[in-house]
């Protein structure tokens, strides 16, 4: 509120106007103090990521100009050094192996379903849709452990009345693989994705669909040629949200692949690095920045879509 004072106080001379002038600046000053405070932690770690180990341990980052060694890229080199045990390389690949399928596959599946719920007339579609959307209420923690057991040993149903066991889902050796992680992400993302895409797709003008049907287009063609191209904005918003969510996820990856060093994404790698605090403390700032690099690129490059995606995604369970 830059105009926080009553208009009647304007136009007086002398000391009073000086005080008013000062008071008037308070809101902006407070805002910038908050903004500075907000950026301090990030700035601090960014500065530290360019300092030598001994400098980091000797003095705080705000004394960076007194450093004897000057700035260095050593930490980043160590983080990308494939031969080092501290390397992030493999976990970066894993992060991509998780985030890309976990973004593309749910979008595709949700788009099909959203289209069917919006424009294919079939029995029970209203109830199926409501049922799917209400699954948003389930916190994923509730589903994680049984799902892990599904990956570990498959699913077997024992018919109590008949005392027979049937294998519903075989043990495919999925546990501790990136596949298990993105499959899980896909399942958990769907209720929200369907809800979001359905909102958009069902708002497309119905004349369009009637015209296409008269021209003899079937559902597959309509979906492919009409619905997908028209839904690009909402698909982009969801894709950004989902990419960030899966890239930054720790919980699901840790549950599904946490014990296999070959399958863990960057978030777990960094948490482990932080775990043996002390030895690799000086690499943490650089590692944290490498991990945050792609999300930050998305943030600064596609800010408009990013905001839309985050806002839309904030309701996800």
């Amino acid at each position: 509120m830059t105009a926080a004072l009553p208009p009647s106080s304007q136009g007086r001379g002398g000391l009073d106007s000086v005080i008013y002038g000062a008071l008037r600046k308070i809101p902006t000053t407070v805002l910038w103090i908050i903004v500075m405070t907000w950026s301090l932690p990030t700035v601090g770690i960014l500065v530290n990521s360019f300092r030598r180990r001994d400098d980091q341990r000797g003095e705080g980052w705000w004394r960076v100009f007194g450093d004897e060694g000057g700035l260095t890229l050593e930490n980043y080199r160590a983080v990308f050094d494939a031969k080092s045990t501290n390397s992030l390389n493999e976990s970066l690949l894993n992060s991509f192996a998780i985030a890309i399928p976990a973004t593309v596959v749910p979008i595709a599946i949700a788009a099909f379903a959203a289209y069917a719920f919006a424009w294919i007339d079939f029995k029970g579609r209203k109830w199926l849709f409501i049922g799917t959307v209400s699954l948003l209420a389930i916190p994923l923690q509730v589903a994680l452990i049984p799902l892990l057991k599904l990956y570990v040993g498959g699913a077997h149903l024992t018919l109590p009345l008949f005392d027979k066991t049937i294998t519903l889902f075989p043990d495919l050796g999925l546990v501790n693989t990136t596949t298990a992680v993105w499959l899980t992400h896909t399942g958990f993302a769907l209720p929200f994705a369907i809800f979001l895409l359905h909102n958009y797709i069902s708002d497309l003008p119905s004349d369009l669909f009637e015209a296409a049907r008269i021209d003899g287009a079937d559902h597959f063609t309509i979906f492919w040629r009409l619905v997908l191209p028209l839904s690009v904005p909402v698909l982009a918003a969801f894709a950004i949200f989902q990419f960030l969510w899966t890239w930054n996820d720790f919980l699901i990856a840790n549950t599904m692949a946490g014990t296999n060093p070959d399958a863990i994404p960057t978030t777990i790698r960094i948490a482990n690095l932080a775990g043996d605090f002390g030895r690799n403390e000086h690499l943490l700032p650089a590692a944290a920045f490498v991990q945050a690099f792609f999300p930050l690129m998305v943030f600064f490059g596609l800010q408009r879509y990013f905001v839309r995606g985050i806002l839309a995604g904030s309701v996800k369970g």
């Binding site: 509120m1 105009a3 926080a4 902006t28 805002l31 908050i34 907000w38 950026s39 932690p41 990030t42 601090g44 980091q56 000797g58 003095e59 705080g60 705000w62 690949l93 192996a97 399928p101 595709a108 599946i109 099909f112 379903a113 069917a116 294919i120 007339d121 199926l128 959307v133 209420a137 389930i138 923690q141 509730v142 589903a143 452990i145 049984p146 599904l150 008949f162 027979k164 075989p170 050796g173 499959l183 896909t186 399942g187 769907l190 209720p191 559902h219 890239w247 930054n248 720790f250 978030t267 960094i270 948490a271 932080a274 700032p285 590692a287 991990q291 999300p295 943030f299 904030s314 309701v315």
Partner: protein, 642 residues
Amino acid sequence: MQKLFDTLILIVAAVGISAGVWVGANLLFDQVHKNWVRFSALISFVGGFVVLLLLQGNRLLQSNGPSSDSITNFGELIWTPVLGGLIVAALAVLVARTEEALTRLIVGVGSGLIVGVAIGLRLVEEARPEIEAGWLIGWTVVVGAIGAGLGVLRGRGWTTGLLWGAAIGWLLGAFAMPDLGSGSVTEAVLGAAVPGLLLGLRVGRGKNTDRLGRGRLDTRSRATIFVAPALAFVAIALVAPTMLTLWLSLKDRDSEFFVGIDNYRSVFTDVNSFDIGAWSAIFTSRLFIVGIILLVLALVVGFARRLQSGSGFEAGGPAFAPLILSSVLIAFAVFSVLRGTILNNVWWVFTVTVFSTGLGLAIAVLADRAKFESAAKSIIFMPMAISLVGASVIWRFMYLARDTSKPQTGLLNALWVGLGRLSTGSGIPTTVGTVVLWLALLGTLAATARSLVRRRWDHVALPAIATVFLGWIAFRYIGWLGEGIGGFREGADGAIKPDTVFFVQDTPFNNVWLMVILIWIQTGFAMVILSAAIKAVPTELLEAARVDGATESQVFWRVTIPQITTTIGVVVTTLIVLVMKVYDIVKVVTNGNFGTQVLANDMFQQAFTNQNRGVGAALAAILFFSVLPVMVLNIRRMQRDS
């Protein structure tokens, strides 16, 4: 390099197979209109393949079946289904090409018989049933009758339903009821052949589907193709696991015996998750006393105003700020004394929700119409892009505490120790500090006095509170209310030594320092949403209020705030759900040690470290039931919005 290649293959395969199956299904159903015979062949192949795959996967078919427990040899698994599927497809082509009713009936029944007998012959020894005629006939009649009844109910006639029902009933009676493994080949063939015959009869009786039927089939199958992948994923990943968790929460630690609500009871009686034993300490805590004083003040001011002008506790009034502040202080007093996992979660929800929303609103208002508004908002919003793990690492460096003989490398401890040095030392820096503090104190005092003199009651509370707070600091700084302020301690010999705060380890307020991390992240979210809502308030409304002589703060509290209450509700409910599930920060920073345990982390420790599945599931269920009401509200709102 190898890893990069593998990763690429994995990604392409994952996306490609998913797309391939789906497009394939669509192309398959394109054949309904284009070529009925081809469609019959393809769909029969798929059907036969799936049924045989299930049988093979359950190790019910002979021979090249997999030997180990886990199915690893793909070739072994796939052979029989492919071959069988081809045979079924060939028979289906025969049926589909036959138009004449009697021939069709014969071909259909024959095909069904062939497939049934073949499966019966191939059943492994352990799967051969010792058929009991009573069960067999009983199930066939009962399920057949149900099928017929359903057929009549749906207005489709009873024959089709009867045939399906009888086939299923026969299968149940033959294979599900008796002991498997003690029967003969004849019995196995009998069990499998009759259902095949019945289904063959069903196919052979009908005519080739006509144009209308094909249209209906097309619509229905498209709907299935479009919806089925999503429903399958959701059923496997969400519905079934959730029900399983709820069920396991009622069983013991190894999920063997049913224990009722014992797990829930043990959660609520465990001092680690729910400890209110020290409750009396609440009333002696400093926070509580200050909170109560503020509360009394707020009430006095509020009621006085009510007598005077009719409204005393409205938002933005003189009693408002003290009221909010006192409730936060009292809540903190309560939560710092009552400890435990569940209460920690409540503390998290309270603090992060209140502060993120409040700060987000404040920043949205401050930034509105400020210069470089979007730059300021970008910086506040940026933490949303960083992972919770990354944020935890970042804040770890803020909270570092080192041996006091060395310089502090954590910013907060450096400031704290510096302040301690300043206030207990002497010389020019200390004097400068004194002067700055007293000038600030004079400023707030002047602001309070000014509001009092001008009878601007709405503006009294905040400067007054600031004055008291600053006054306390200033007096301590010069050594009047205890010795100095900041990070130091007095040694036994009276010497002053620097002292640090262990932000992460010192119970109970280390919880608050962890919450700060989430507040740092979520304030940006609250700000963006609230800022959009504020900008959407119609300008005419604001202008009208100003013309009527409302001050800017009155405009804000009485026009803007009521206009954005719905949005505030959205932010609050979203944050409650999100904070309730907090996990990453606690896991990375303390792993639940030092009295910072929360439900989500406790659940994983119970399930994996303690190997207690029952209690783990109960904790998950508690989480579920506590977010459920808020989520239901949220979903209903979203559906109303759309």
